[in-house]
C-alpha cells in the first residue's frame, strides 16, 4: 500500500476540493459519478455520430430511385444497425450519463450508491458495441432483419447472429446495473429533508424510468435467449415447424419495446420540466400532477404493446382494448403538455439555447403524439402499418423527444459542469439548423407514408422521388449541423467565458445550482442545508 504523505499538499487539495486521480486510471477505474457521467456522454456522442453516419448512407441511397450506393443487403444492415446503435448506444447511454452527473447533485448525495457497480455498468458498453459493430466484418455482414429482430428472418442471419444476441445481453446487463444504481441512490441517499415530493422532476422521471428498465429488461433477455436456443439448440419457441409461434416473439418483444420507448422519453420530460420553469422565471405549474402523469404513462406503457402489431391477426376484442388503452396515454401526456404551457403563461420568457430546444421538444413531440394517435386507430393503422408514416412518427417522438431533450439538458447544465459558458450564437445556429432541417427531413415522410411508400426498402417507385429527395437534403443538413454540438462543447471547455457565481441562469432552481461552478469533483460531502433544499423545491 502506498501511504499518503502527511503534508501541506493535503490542505491545498482540500481548498481546491479536488484530489482526483490523473491519467488513464482516472477513467478506467472511475468511481466518481461525474467522471462516469462524462464517459457515458462521450460514448453516447460517438455512437450518435456512428448511427448518424448509417442514417446518412440510408438517406444517400434513398436520394433518388434505384440502387446507387449500397446493395439491398447492406441497406437492410444499415437500417438495422442505425436503430440498434441509436437506441442502445446513443440515447440510453446519454440519459444514463445525465443521470450520473445530475441525480447525486440534485438530491444532495455525495455519489451514486454503488460506485464500483457504476464503473462496471459503463465499461460493459464499449465492449458490447465493439462486438455489435464488428459484425460488419463477419461472413454475411451485420444483422439485417431490423432492430426488432423478428424471427424467422433473424434466425437466418450468418455469423452476426450470436454477436447480436451477446451484444444485446451485454447492453441489457449494463442498463440493469445502471437502473439498480439509480433506484438505490434515489431511495437511500437523498439528503435529509429531500423528501420524494421535493425531488426535481428529472430525478422523478429517472426513478420511474429505472422501474421500467428493471421490469422489462429480463423480458428482452429471455426473448433473445429463446432466439439463440432456437438457432443453435434446436428449440422451437418461435419455430412454427416445431410447434412454436413466431408471432409470440412479437408479443414479448413489444412487451419490452413499448416501455423501452418511454425509457427513452421520460427522462426528457424531466429535463424539459427543469428548463421551462428556469427560462420562464416561474415555478413549474402542477408539480405533483407531473409526477402522477409520469407514473401513469409508465403504467400504461405495459398495456399497449400490441398496437405495434395490429396487423398480425389479433381478435377484435384485443384490437379494441389496445386501441383504447393507447389512446388513453394521450390523457397524462396532455396533462404534461398543458402544464408546460401553463408554466410559460405570463412568465418572463427568454430564449437561450436550452429553452429553444425545450420548446422544439414540446412542439415537435406533440406532433409525434398526434401521429401516434392516428396510428392507434386500428382501421387507420391497417393502412399505415410498415409505411414511412410510422418512420416519420417515431422519429418525431424519438429525435425531438429524446435527442432534443438530451441536447437541451447538456446546454442547460454544461455551464455547471465546466464552469464556463458556451458560444450562444453558435448554439442558436445549432438549434435553428436542427429544428428547421429536422422538419425538412421527417415531415415529408408523413406524405410518403400516406402515399403508400413502405419502410425498409432501398428502392422505390418514381412517384415517391420528390419527397425522398427533400427528405434526404433535410437529412444531410440536419446530420452535418449536429457536428456543431461537439464543437460548441469543445470550445466551451477550452475557452468559454467563466461563469460567475453558482447560477448560470438566473431562473434556475435546484440543489445543483447551490454548488459552485464548475461543480466540485467531490460534491455534497457535507449534506445540503434545509434552506438550500427548500429553495430548490419551490414548485
Amino acid at each position: 500500500m502506498a501511504e499518503t504523505p502527511h503534508t501541506e499538499a493535503h490542505a491545498h487539495a482540500e481548498h481546491d476540493h479536488d484530489h482526483k486521480p490523473h491519467g488513464w486510471r482516472r477513467w478506467v477505474f472511475a468511481t466518481n459519478h461525474k467522471d462516469i457521467g462524462t464517459m457515458y456522454l462521450v460514448f453516447s456522442c460517438i455512437m450518435f455520430f456512428t448511427g448518424g453516419a448509417f442514417a446518412m448512407m440510408i438517406r444517400a441511397e434513398l436520394f433518388k430511385p434505384g440502387l446507387q450506393i449500397v446493395d439491398a443487403g447492406v441497406f437492410n444492415s444499415l437500417t438495422t444497425m442505425h436503430g440498434l446503435v441509436m437506441i442502445f448506444g446513443a440515447i440510453m447511454p446519454a440519459w444514463v450519463g445525465l443521470a450520473n452527473w445530475m441525480i447525486p447533485i440534485q438530491i444532495g448525495a455525495p455519489d451514486m450508491a454503488l460506485p464500483r457497480l457504476n464503473n462496471l455498468s459503463f465499461w460493459i458498453l464499449p465492449f458490447a458495441f465493439v462486438l455489435l459493430l464488428s459484425s460488419w466484418l463477419v461472413p454475411g455482414s451485420a444483422p439485417a432483419g431490423g432492430w426488432t429482430m423478428y424471427p424467422p428472418l433473424t434466425l437466418q442471419f450468418g455469423a452476426s447472429f450470436p454477436m447480436l444476441i451477446f451484444a444485446i445481453h451485454m447492453m441489457g446487463i449494463s442498463s440493469i446495473l445502471g437502473a439498480i444504481n439509480v433506484i438505490v441512490t434515489i431511495m437511500n441517499l437523498r439528503a435529509p429533508g429531500m423528501t420524494l415530493l421535493r425531488m426535481p422532476l428529472f430525478v422523478w422521471t429517472w426513478l420511474i424510468t429505472s422501474f421500467l428498465l428493471v421490469a422489462v429488461m429480463p423480458v428482452l433477455a429471455g426473448a433473445v435467449t429463446m432466439l439463440l436456443t432456437d438457432h443453435f439448440f434446436g428449440t422451437s419457441f418461435f419455430n412454427a415447424a416445431g410447434g412454436g409461434d413466431p408471432v409470440m416473439f412479437q408479443h414479448i418483444f413489444w412487451f419490452f419495446g413499448h416501455p423501452e420507448v418511454y425509457i427513452m422519453i421520460l427522462p426528457g420530460f424531466g429535463v424539459v420540466s427543469e428548463i421551462i420553469p428556469a427560462f420562464s422565471r416561474k415555478p413549474l405549474f402542477g408539480y405533483e400532477a407531473m409526477v402522477y402523469a409520469t407514473a401513469s404513462i409508465a403504467f400504461l406503457s405495459f398495456i399497449v404493446w400490441a398496437h405495434h402489431m395490429f396487423t398480425v391477426g389479433l381478435p377484435t376484442s384485443a384490437l379494441l382494448f389496445f386501441m383504447f388503452a393507447t389512446m388513453l396515454i394521450a390523457v397524462p401526456t396532455g396533462v404534461k403538455v398543458f402544464n408546460w404551457t401553463a408554466t410559460m403563461w405570463r412568465g418572463s420568457l427568454t430564449f437561450e439555447p436550452p429553452m429553444l430546444f425545450a420548446l422544439a421538444f414540446l412542439f415537435l413531440f406533440t406532433i409525434g403524439g398526434f401521429s401516434g394517435l392516428m396510428l392507434a386507430m386500428v382501421p387507420a393503422d391497417f393502412q399505415y402499418q410498415d409505411t414511412y408514416f410510422v418512420v416519420a412518427h417515431f422519429h418525431y417522438v424519438l429525435v425531438s423527444g429524446s435527442a432534443f431533450a438530451i441536447i437541451a439538458g447538456v446546454y442547460y447544465w454544461l455551464p455547471k459542469w465546466v464552469g464556463r459558458m458556451y458560444d450562444m450564437t453558435l448554439a442558436k445556429w445549432h438549434f435553428w439548423l436542427s429544428a428547421i432541417f429536422f422538419n425538412v427531413l421527417f415531415f415529408p415522410q408523413h406524405f410518403l407514408g400516406l402515399a403508400g411508400m413502405p419502410r425498409r426498402i432501398p428502392d422505390y417507385a418514381v412517384q415517391f422521388a420528390d419527397w425522398n429527395m427533400v427528405s434526404s437534403i433535410g437529412g444531410f443538413v440536419f446530420g452535418l449541423s449536429q457536428l456543431l454540438f461537439p464543437y460548441i462543447i469543445w470550445k466551451c471547455v477550452r475557452s468559454g467565458q467563466r461563469v460567475e457565481g453558482t447560477r448560470a441562469w438566473d431562473g434556475a432552481r435546484g440543489l445543483e445550482w447551490e454548488l459552485p461552478s464548475p461543480a466540485p469533483y467531490h460534491s455534497w460531502t457535507i449534506p445540503p442545508t434545509e434552506a438550500m433544499i427548500a429553495r430548490g423545491a419551490e414548485h
Binding site: V214, M217, G222
Partner: protein, 168 residues
C-alpha cells in the same frame, strides 16, 4: 502565535451514513418490485416462455443485494471523541460495539491509498502498534475530508494541537 483557549471541552465527531430509506420502506419497495416482476415473468413462463423467469429472478437477486449493500450502512456508526489527553473511537454496527482509546499525543492519522484503484482507501488512527480503522462506510472523498479534519485535530505523532482552536 497560539490561539487563546476559549474552551477545553472534548471534540466529538459522529460519523454515520445518511440513509433516506427505512427498513420497512425497503422491504415494501423490494416486495412490491419482486411481486410485479416475478408475476410478470411467471405469466410469461406459463405461456411457454420460461427463459424470462431465470433472468427476472437473477435481476431481483441483484436488486436485493444492492439494497442490502446500501442499507447495511444504516447500522454503522463511529463516535470519535478527542480530549486533551485521549482519542477514543467507539465503533458500532449491528452486532457489536467496540471502544478503542489512544493517547492523543502519540496518536497519528493515516490515510492509505490502495495499491489498486479498484479498492477503497483506508483511514486509521494508530499508536503504539495498535490501529483502528475509521469511516470504512464512507465514500473515498468523504473519508479524505475526515482524514484532513482529524489530522488537524490530532496532529502528527508527538504533537497535541490545541482543541480550542480546532473545528467542532
Amino acid at each position: 502565535m497560539e490561539a487563546p483557549q476559549r474552551t477545553r471541552q472534548p471534540v466529538r465527531i459522529v460519523i454515520c451514513p445518511n440513509c433516506s430509506l427505512s427498513l420497512r420502506g425497503a422491504a415494501l419497495f423490494f416486495g412490491g418490485l419482486c411481486l410485479f416482476c416475478l408475476t410478470l415473468a411467471g405469466v410469461l413462463a406459463l405461456m411457454g416462455m420460461w427463459p424470462v423467469l431465470p433472468f427476472a429472478g437473477l435481476e431481483m437477486l441483484l436488486v436485493g443485494w444492492a439494497l442490502h449493500a446500501s442499507l447495511a450502512r444504516r447500522y454503522r456508526s463511529e463516535i470519535i471523541t478527542l480530549t486533551e489527553s485521549d482519542v477514543s473511537v467507539e465503533s458500532r454496527d449491528r452486532a457489536r460495539c467496540q471502544l478503542t482509546v489512544f493517547q492523543r499525543h502519540w496518536a497519528q492519522v493515516k490515510l492509505r491509498r490502495p495499491a489498486s484503484q479498484l479498492h477503497p482507501s483506508r483511514l486509521t488512527i494508530e499508536s503504539h502498534g495498535r490501529q483502528c480503522e475509521l469511516g470504512s462506510f464512507l465514500t473515498d472523498e468523504e473519508r479524505y475530508g475526515l482524514a484532513l479534519r482529524l489530522q488537524r485535530l490530532i496532529g502528527r505523532i508527538n504533537e497535541s494541537p490545541s482543541l480550542a482552536s480546532g473545528p467542532k
